[in-house]
Assembly symmetry: C2
Homo-oligomer: 151 residues x 2
Amino acid sequence: MRHGHKWGNKLRGCGFRLTIGREAIVDILSHTNSHMSAEDIFFALHADSPNIGLTTVYRTLELLEKNGIVSKYEFGHGRAKFELTEAYGNKPHHHHLICRKCGTIIDYSDFMEDELAYLKKTEAGLGKKYKFTIHQHSISFFGICEKCGAS
Amino acid sequence: MRHGHKWGNKLRGCGFRLTIGREAIVDILSHTNSHMSAEDIFFALHADSPNIGLTTVYRTLELLEKNGIVSKYEFGHGRAKFELTEAYGNKPHHHHLICRKCGTIIDYSDFMEDELAYLKKTEAGLGKKYKFTIHQHSISFFGICEKCGAS
DNA sequence: ATTGATAATGAAAACCATTTTCAATAAGGT
DNA sequence: ACCTTATTGAAAATGGTTTTCATTATCAAT
């Protein structure tokens, strides 16, 4: 399996090396369905790979992000969170519901038909009007989750 | 004018004091139409009010944010950016187009009818399904601006 | 106006996620 | 196996933001 990953081929195609650390990090990301911080990944890794440093985790995440393999989110609770992109992960297209109190992040994939219609029009219009090449969008809703109670 | 601000009344109503620093900071924010970082505000202030420290700027922005007077954005170019909320500022409802290369932020208010329709349905649906009280949404598009050239 | 309780402030230090440095190590083409 | 060079870990540096603490300012009550 060492050379069979889609993401691995992508990296190697760009001249990067396929290392044990990089494999372990992507492996962690592909076996979780939560959003992990660099530190989360570092600790998750530490049991099986105590020799992979936090620095490497940061560097790898940066590399993966630049190559479109992971997405980085800064929801504002201190640390950035990461997840595999749709093309390389196993999660369907989704957006986020973030609790302002406890920081819980809920993924949702509902209402995507409505979103698609809205995005299609908007992206096209914005791109043309502002001469902007749009690569990505971010849609998030902030509020209070059930557990934290409404206010 | 010292006691005539909507935002000032809001703060006083919550037991907070109306200070020179807070007035100066809101004043700066209400006379700019760009998104300012705490440091930006600190320097803009420094000419007329050299006695207001960066610490106070941070503390004031936090207070204003908690009271719904400013919005804080973390677009990922290091420093957080702030602007008055729709209710207290002079800018119409808008969203952001962020350049991945140079960090330029373009406000846009186009296609709001489409957005409204989409949001209305989505927020209602999400709120019900996930028992989430939605207070805010954030819609941003990331890409490359005209100046930075497409890729 | 003055006073008094206490909220707000500035300066400096602390915090803490993330980056950089640098010498040692490992990947992978030959 | 060898060699070039990308990658790594540890430790130090960075830099935005927060905390500490003694001082100052706000404003309700007088």
